[in-house]
C-alpha cells in the first residue's frame, strides 16, 4: 500500500481541491441498475411462466404488454420500447460492473489462487458472478436484439416456435442459469453492501440472506426450467405448423 501524499498538516485542516464525487455515484448506479434489472427479471420470469397456467392466459399477458386491452388493438412497438429501455439499463450495468473485473492476467491469477486457498463461499461466488456476467454480455445482447426487432413474435405459438423450430432453446437454457445465479448472488451482495435487511446480529443477517438467496435461486431455476420445457413441448408439437399464430379459445368461433 502506498501513501496518498506527504502532508505537513492534517489533511482535514487544509484547504485543498475536493475529491471527485464520481466514484460514489458510479457505485450507487452499479447497485441501482443491478437491482432494477434483477427485479425486472423476477417479473419477466412470472410473465413467461404464464404459459404454465394456460395458452390463453399467456396470450392475454402478451396482448396486455402490446396495449391491446388499453387501445383495442396491439402495438408491438410498446414491447420494443420496453426492450430498448432494458437494453440501455443492461449496457449501463455492464459498463459499471466491468470496473470490478480483473484487469489483467496477474490480477486474475492472484484472485484465483486466493479463492482456491480460502475456500470461502462469498469469495468463490464472486467468480461465479464475474463468469456469468461475462457470459450475459453476449447472451442478453442476442436475446434483446431479437426482441427489439421482432416484438410481435411473442405468444403461445410464436414463442414456442422460436424456442423449438427456431432453435433458440440452447441460448435460453444457458441464459436461464446465468441470469438466476448472477441475479441471486448480486442481489444478496447488494443487500450486504448497503446494510439492507439487517437482523439483530451480522451473523444472523448473513445466514438469512444466504437462505433467501439460495431459496429464491432454486425456485426461479425450477420455474424457469419447467417453463422452458413447456415452450419446447408446445414448439415440438406445433413444429409442422410453425409460424401460425395462436387464437384464444373465446375467439375461435368467430375466427375461421
Amino acid at each position: 500500500m502506498h501513501r496518498k501524499a506527504e502532508l505537513a498538516v492534517p489533511a482535514a485542516m487544509a484547504v485543498r481541491p475536493r475529491s471527485s464525487r464520481m466514484p460514489a455515484q458510479l457505485d450507487v448506479l452499479q447497485s441501482a441498475t443491478g437491482v432494477v434489472l434483477a427485479l425486472f427479471m423476477w417479473g419477466h420470469m412470472f410473465f413467461v411462466a404464464s404459459i404454465l397456467v394456460s395458452k390463453d392466459f399467456m396470450w392475454a399477458v402478451t396482448r396486455m404488454f402490446e396495449g391491446y386491452f388499453f387501445f383495442g388493438r396491439s402495438y408491438p412497438g410498446v414491447v420494443s420500447t420496453l426492450v430498448g429501455g432494458i437494453l440501455l439499463l443492461f449496457v449501463a450495468h455492464a459498463a459499471l460492473a466491468m470496473r470490478k473485473f480483473p484487469a489483467n492476467y496477474q490480477q486474475y491469477r492472484l484472485f484465483m489462487s486466493h479463492r482456491a486457498a480460502m475456500r470461502h463461499e462469498d469469495t468463490s461466488l464472486w467468480v461465479v458472478q464475474i463468469a456469468t456476467g461475462f457470459a450475459l454480455f453476449f447472451l442478453v445482447s442476442i436475446h434483446l436484439y431479437q426482441m427489439l426487432m421482432h416484438p410481435g413474435d411473442i405468444g403461445p405459438y410464436a414463442s414456442s416456435d422460436r424456442v423449438w423450430s427456431g432453435r433458440w432453446w440452447p441460448l435460453y437454457l444457458v441464459m436461464l442459469f446465468c441470469v438466476e445465479l448472477h441475479g441471486g448472488i448480486g442481489l444478496s451482495r447488494v443487500a450486504a453492501k448497503w446494510g439492507w435487511f439487517a437482523s439483530a446480529t451480522a451473523r444472523q443477517t448473513r445466514r438469512r440472506l444466504k437462505l433467501l438467496k439460495w431459496g429464491v435461486t432454486a425456485f426461479l431455476l425450477a420455474l424457469g426450467l419447467t417453463t422452458l420445457a413447456a415452450y419446447m413441448k408446445i414448439g415440438h408439437e406445433h413444429a409442422a405448423q410453425a409460424g401460425e399464430r395462436y387464437t384464444p379459445e373465446q375467439y375461435r368461433s368467430v375466427t375461421p
Binding site: 500500500m1 496518498k4 482535514a12 485542516m13 485543498r16 475536493r18 484472485f111 486457498a117 469469495t123 451482495r189
Partner: protein, 262 residues
Amino acid sequence: MIESPVALPAENQTPRRLRITVLRYNPAVPEQLPRLQTYELDEAVGMTLFIALGEIRETQDPSLQFDFVCRAGICGSCAMVINGRPGLACRTLTTQLPETIALAPLPGFALIGDLSVDTGKWMRAMSERVESWLHSHDVEVDLDRAEARMEPELAEAIYELDRCIECGCCVAACGTARMREDFVGAVAVNKLARFRLDPRDQRDDADYYEVIGDDDGIFGCMTLLACDDVCPKNLPLMTQLAYMRRKMAAVGWRGSDGANHS
C-alpha cells in the same frame, strides 16, 4: 478450574501426530529459494498452533521464524495463513485442525522471514493515509481542564470498534486487496467508522470522503465478506463497511462542496 468448551484429547489417549508444513523463505538469504518444510510432533492437551511452533523451534529447528508477543490474541503479531485462511496462531487450537497443517506467511505484507511479516509498516502507511487520529479545531489544548464527558453507551460503541488489533487478517483474506494492492482494506474503514462515532473528532463526512471516497477506498470493496468471517476479534466489519459506504455515497450525491475545514 474453568472447563474448556473445546473437546480435549483424553489423558490416556495416544496423542495425534501432527504434520506441520511451513512455507519457508528468508528474503535476506535470497539464494535459498522458497520451500516447504514439514515438521512432525505429538499433539498435547490444549495445544495452540503458537505452542506447537514454539516446540518446533525449541526442539527441532531454531531457524524457524514466526512472531508472537502476547500469546492471548491481543497483540496481533502471530497472524498467519493456516490451511489457506488467515488466523492467529495463538488463538487456533490444534484440535480444530486436521493432522496435516499447512502454514504460510500473511500475503500482502512485507515478508521478514518464514511466517514473520511486517504488518506494522503497512498499518502505519494505512493510518497516515486515512489519518486515523482525532482531528480537532482547537489548536490550544488545555491540559488542566477536565475531559469532556461522554455517554457510556457511546464510549462502549467506540470501544467496540477500537478492539481492532491490526493483525492484518482482514487484509490477507480480502480478494480485492489481493488483486489491487492500493485497496484500503476493512481495517481502515473500521477505523474511520470509529472516529466518525467520536464527538472529539471534528471531521465531517466530506472530510472522510477525501480519504476513502474512491475506488481504492470504500467504493473498491466488493463485499466478499471474508474480512468479516476471519476477524479474530469478531469486529462487525460487514456492518461498518455498509455504514461507511452509505455515508460516503450520501456525500457523493449531495453535491455540496463538503465544507472542508480551513
